[in-house]
């Protein structure tokens, strides 16, 4: 099953299990969303549970908040990463804070689905990685699947959460296939997963970069470097115990993501690993990411985005300490 299909199946299951689950956003009904993640849901659940909204992202999230207050579990789709910003105010000043503001009287079981990341040859604003803005915000939970099995389960668990969850969906991997276990959730929503064991260097990745990290580990093995790969899965909270265990084991950590590295997830993780694993480290935590520029035009994105070579260059630098 492909990631897009797994998300679709997970959504369908959640909507079957709980009549309070709604799915809405731009073009999500008859069309099934521009990436077809909601395909068939409108047909199965009808206008009152799956509906198109006006093209107004703040309106989508703001009304989702009101619907959650009314006892619904709204799942919203933001059509592309670069279009979440009109909703930034509602997400950060309202959704993230209402439980705290109300001293627990209000819960906010709202899910925001955001296809993110580059690699699909798109025009501007369709290839961004804005996760750090949200991971920085107390009150939000952030997850990102890298494979179909996680996609299927994460979307369902996100919907069950009483807290707001943003699920960043790796859009260039939507069509990547893999097995899905329909019976057993693989692990808790906010845990990281060891994807490949290794002994020399820990490579941390999430979302679309997990596949790239595994490619790098394969190439590294050919060169005689044993790379351990961890998929973060959750960006808020971050499963630090798993990260620290690996850092303590290998003594070397490289982290990769598509987002610009300046004040990014890897900035925070580097700081935490330094603080908690200082005496185990053989090298500083090194980072591979997008450059600190606006996302480039499509013809340049292949060179802009981190690939296995850029990762291995950082691995080599780490090994040289």
């Amino acid at each position: 099953m492909a990631i897009a299909k797994a998300l679709n199946a997970g959504l369908q299951k959640a909507m079957q299990d709980d009549p309070k689950v709604l799915m809405f956003g731009e073009d999500v009904a008859q069309l099934g969303g521009v990436f077809r993640v909601t395909e068939g849901l409108h047909k199965e659940f009808g206008d009152s549970r799956v509906f198109n909204t006006p093209i107004a992202e703040s309106g989508i999230v703001g009304t989702a908040i009101g619907l959650a207050m009314r006892g619904y579990r709204p799942v919203t789709e933001i059509q592309f990463d670069g279009f979440v910003f009109p909703a930034f105010n509602q997400i950060t000043t309202q959704l993230a804070k209402l439980t705290s503001r109300s001293e627990g009287f209000l819960q906010m079981p709202v899910v925001i689905r955001i296809p993110y990341g580059g690699g699909i040859g798109a025009v501007e604003h369709h290839s961004e990685s804005p996760e750090a803005y949200f991971a920085h915000t107390p009150g939000l939970r952030i997850v990102t699947p890298s494979n179909p099995n996680d996609a299927y389960w994460m979307i369902q668990e996100a919907i069950k959460s009483p807290d707001p969850v943003i699920i960043f969906e790796p859009k260039r991997r939507y069509w990547q296939k893999g097995p899905v276990n329909l019976d057993i959730a693989p692990m808790p929503l906010h845990s990281a997963r060891l994807m490949r064991e290794g002994t020399d260097v820990t490579l941390l990745a999430y979302g679309p970069m997990v596949t790239t990290a595994l490619q790098a580990a394969e190439l590294g093995a050919e060169e005689g470097i044993s790379i351990e790969v961890i998929d973060l899965r959750s960006l808020s909270p971050i499963d630090y115990p798993t990260l620290f265990a690996s850092a303590n084991k290998t003594g070397r950590v490289v982290m990769v993501h598509e987002a610009p590295t300046n004040v990014s997830l890897s900035s925070e993780i580097a700081a935490r690993i330094t603080e908690n694993c200082f005496y185990s480290l053989e090298a500083p935590v090194l980072r591979v990411g997008g450059f600190d520029t606006p996302y480039p035009p499509a013809k340049l994105e292949e060179a802009y985005l981190p690939d296995a070579d850029r990762i291995l260059e950082a691995v080599d630098r780490s090994m040289a300490y």
Binding site: P54, S58, G62, R70, P86, Q94, R141, P237
Partner: protein
């Protein structure tokens, strides 16, 4: 501002206290006809109560007991009138100045004072009071109100004819807030989903120092029309007009008529907040003009002409002084919660960063010894 007489405005009670129903507003007049003397007295009592409360809260702020106060002086007619028109199942999404609406639905005034003192950000139970938390980000709450109303519609609680079950939503915001994109999106979503909601705009003619003329080219009651939300202007200093308009359009919303917008033309007699200095941007003569149109004396004149006796007004005054003394005492007695409480409700379910920081704070405080 100079009154704009070209815009039709429903006024039932003239500034001199004369009551009269223009023919085109007959159905609103019928609503007033159905009110008993007790209800009229309640309107007066609560307008006077909230005025007295405001004055006391300003004094408490001046004495350093509150961080800030946001007075509603001059807007009591709009707030008490509309507030009492909201039904027992309906939900209210206020902005941050609707203390008058709050008392019409039993919200503890101390909850509001706590917030302005800075011991919490609200903290009353919005499900229980149906009066949602104050919203400081202009316009943000209007979308929540629309979402809530959409949910009511999805629940099938509109237009069933069952008065005990059907409900509608009212959202309050100011003239300044109408400029926010969220308000436009709210009008659009409400129209598209035929949500049972009344948008109640208190046009108090100022947004801090910006006069309403600087932020709109058409009267605000027309703001919804391009979205498919009809509207009307009422005299916001006429408690009866505000009651009748809100009652009729909330009833209609509950019955399935969809959204409606009421612009209550009122005036902010006081400062924007206790941090503001209106002398920098408006003439005292303008304030005097509007003081002559104050909603409270106008209604008093009306009630006296109805034969309500002196003793009633004296009781109200005394009750106001008692309220003031009571909130003063309670405000002085407010304690500051421990810092660790900030961790309590960031998430509904445990979050490791919160757990860790709470533990760190506890250990730190213990290492520093007690400061009590």
């Amino acid at each position: 501002m100079t009154p704009d007489n070209s815009t039709p405005m429903m006024q039932l009670l003239a500034p001199d206290g004369t009551y009269g129903v223009p023919a085109q507003y007959a159905k609103y007049g019928e609503i007033i006809d159905s009110l008993g003397e007790d209800q009229l007295k309640t309107f007066y009592r609560d307008m006077a109560r909230i005025r007295r409360f405001d004055i006391e809260a300003i004094a408490l702020q001046r004495q350093g007991q509150l961080g800030l106060w946001v007075p509603a002086i001059g807007q009591e007619g709009a707030q008490i009138g509309s507030g009492y028109a909201v039904g027992p199942n309906d939900h209210i999404f206020p902005s941050y100045r609707e203390h008058g609406v709050a008392i019409t639905h039993g919200v503890e005034l101390m909850s509001i004072l706590k917030m302005m003192r800075g011991v919490n950000h609200g903290g009353w139970n919005p499900e229980e009071t149906r009066y949602h938390l104050y919203s400081i980000v202009l316009g943000a709450q209007v979308l929540h109100a629309v979402g809530y109303a959409m949910g009511v519609k999805f629940d099938g609680r509109v237009g069933t004819g069952d008065k005990d079950s059907d409900l509608a939503v009212i959202s309050y915001f100011g003239d300044g807030a109408t400029a926010e994109g969220d308000v436009s999106e709210s009008l659009l979503f409400a129209a598209v989903y035929e949500a049972p909601i009344v948008f109640f705009v208190q046009n108090n003619q100022w947004a801090i120092s910006s006069p309403v003329e600087q932020v709109t080219k058409v009267p605000l009651y027309m703001r919804g029309s391009g979205f498919g939300v009809p509207g009307m202007r009422v005299d916001g200093n006429d408690v009866l007009a505000c009651y009748a308009a809100t009652k009729l359009h909330m009833d209609e919303a509950r019955e399935g008529a969809g959204p409606y917008l009421i612009e209550a033309l009122t005036y902010r007699i006081g400062a924007h907040t206790t941090s503001d200095d209106p002398s920098k941007y408006r003439d005292e003569s303008e304030v005097e003009y509007w003081k002559a149109r104050d909603p409270i004396p106008r209604f008093e004149t009306f009630l006296r002409r109805q034969g309500i006796e002196d003793s009633f007004f004296e009781d109200v005054k005394q009750a106001g002084d008692e309220l003031a003394a009571d909130i003063r005492e309670q405000t002085f007695a407010l304690t500051t919660p421990p810092l660790e409480n900030i961790f309590d409700f960031v998430y509904s379910e445990s979050h490791p960063d919160i757990v860790q920081q709470r533990a760190w704070l506890k250990a730190y405080e213990e290492s520093m010894g007690s400061h009590e």
